[in-house]
Symmetry: C2
Subunit: 430 residues, 2 copies
Amino acid sequence: MATGTTDAPGGTGAPGAATRIDARALHARVTPAGELGSIAGFRWGACAAGLKAGGKADLGLLVCDAPATAAAVATTNRVKAAPLVLMLERLAEDAPQAVLVNSGNANAATGAAGRRAAKRTTKAVASALGIPARSVVPASTGVIGVPLPEAPIVQAAPELVASLSPEGAGAFAEAIVTTDLGTKAAASTVGRGKRRYRMVGVAKGAGMIHPNLATTLAFVVTDAPVRKRFLRRALREASDATFNRITVDGDTSTNDVILALASGAGGGERLSGDDAGSKRFVRALREVLEALALQVVADGEGAQHVARVRVEQAPSPEAALAVARTVGTSNLVKTALHGCDPNWGRILAAAGRAGVPFDPEKAEVRIGDHVLYRRGEALMTPEVEAAASAVMQAPLYDLVVRLGAGRAKEYVWTCDLGHEYVRINADYRS
Amino acid sequence: MATGTTDAPGGTGAPGAATRIDARALHARVTPAGELGSIAGFRWGACAAGLKAGGKADLGLLVCDAPATAAAVATTNRVKAAPLVLMLERLAEDAPQAVLVNSGNANAATGAAGRRAAKRTTKAVASALGIPARSVVPASTGVIGVPLPEAPIVQAAPELVASLSPEGAGAFAEAIVTTDLGTKAAASTVGRGKRRYRMVGVAKGAGMIHPNLATTLAFVVTDAPVRKRFLRRALREASDATFNRITVDGDTSTNDVILALASGAGGGERLSGDDAGSKRFVRALREVLEALALQVVADGEGAQHVARVRVEQAPSPEAALAVARTVGTSNLVKTALHGCDPNWGRILAAAGRAGVPFDPEKAEVRIGDHVLYRRGEALMTPEVEAAASAVMQAPLYDLVVRLGAGRAKEYVWTCDLGHEYVRINADYRS
């Protein structure tokens, strides 16, 4: 199966209409899904069960040779999909050994039938693998409110298991995407004495959520041995600094989850958080998630740019984050980013409504290194405007707001809002 | 001067590109600005000072024969424009007798020079009127961060005063618009024994904020005699139920203000809030503001529909409002409204992320009278979908979310998000 495609499996006609940000410009850890290679203790599989149109792969299976150390962070949306609820229940009770992912159907808002479907499909895969059903955790993404067709998934279970391979991460990455313009993958390593652990992540999700309520799913696997408590803490910290920092249209899904699995096949004592190897592990996890999150935000329909909204000189980190999120979700700011317009007035006005006290006459707005506004004064000469607009042509740049109200700082990543977003989200019925 | 025009004075090329909602379909109190007539104790004026292109009127003056009873509610944005700050200072000290409004320049984020300009321009008008400068309150709307040209306003003051007429409300309404597709006006009456007071309101503001950060300004005048304390309370209540219930792109301006002035020229004892006349006064004020607010939300670029998002069965009014605002500002919901798509999944998912606890399996989603989702089950047959989509063709309709979590309810009005929004807010530089 081809990897790194720019098709939009299960999509709505998006591909080809817009140029796409080159993911490799976003982060050093971005790795094409087809080049992820193998990672000790894990096998990946994929096949087509007819949930997506055109015979595209829509089932992905990730299996560990033995029960894995696991941690997950999930959506805070009150409306949680059946597979997500089942995954969290099973993770709370047991060490999982396999993850079954289907795309093309979110199995969300499907009531009791949805819960039954999640149980029956994982049971079928567990039987084919010869492991207990409770060792298989499910995840789904796709259309909401439509019953999940159980039979084709149950029937495909043997084929799915037969497709397992240590080199299958690329095929798995393909199988889990929905309206994404491409697969999302990243890899890193963790050095520890003479050992060298690998860490690999794949994700799906487009920065701007699609007609059928797209989901962000991310799976990170490592051959490092890790204590469960430490893995949980590390995942929470790393996702807070990455996936919780991307803001696109403010909508969160019913199915979002980030799942980390550690096989321990790389050998050695379990990392527990106290030694230098643990620090490197956390750093690698954060880098992998950061690279995945940036690929998600860059995959907004029609997105041409990712901006890191940095808020500095805030009274507290919470205040800084509130301002960054308000600026990053402002449609007025996001359309200005699309037009490469260094419109500091929109940025300042968005900051002003975040509920954070600051004096605009002590504030400052920058694009890259170009100061557009400082202490009550617009500094936007034609030269500055042209220079700032040139910065905004880049795939990734910084937008900085200094509040002059303290020492705290925070950031979010956002993308621009253009015609493609409206076209795909409003016009898809016509 | 023509009134009720569909030109966009000072605009960016918006007019003509999109069909526009007929304001009279929105509310019974909507009145064409040219038909507002006179109201005892007030005169209105307008002229062009060159702040807008094409010689269009950009100064409006509203004068009361004697100092008026006044109340105002203003933006909560931390970034407040100089004229707004000066207006609030002067209202706190004195009864105002005149309101000077300029369009084409917001005089916001303009530092000390902006404050000087607000003082000098109101002083020039006060001199021409022969009243103290402190009796004139300013309001500005237009581009942010550009120094307000004082001299042309000062020079135009005599012409502006000479234009005053009891019949001038239509011309005033024209002078204060910026990128609006049309003027906004409403009128009502308040009966009290044999007396009959008039109430007239004019507003400017487009539901979706425009390139240069458009503002919502609203002025309501009445010949009723009113105690200041009662007028303040009535305005707060009425604006809370109207202008604070419109949500478009979540951006609030630096200049937003609603100002109510009562001349008392209609005669009689001052309304103080205790008698039946006071109740009718509050109702009329709410109706006028409601009619103005609906015109503002309907004037979003390219808006074809206004939806009232009603949230019912919530644990508290605050919770109901939080859910309504989250649904009403969701880009996914708003693009679905644009496509006349009864996409209950997006609505339910937006409700789920509002931070309000509820069980989706007890919830319900309706468009008009059509139930799309109830208690974990999608009810969207092709017939229901077609019927709900037909409802969504209307200029104004209800979108209802029942949470099954209590008895409180609240609502907001929102509009759809289409290509015009992106075109005007992103493409205006090219």
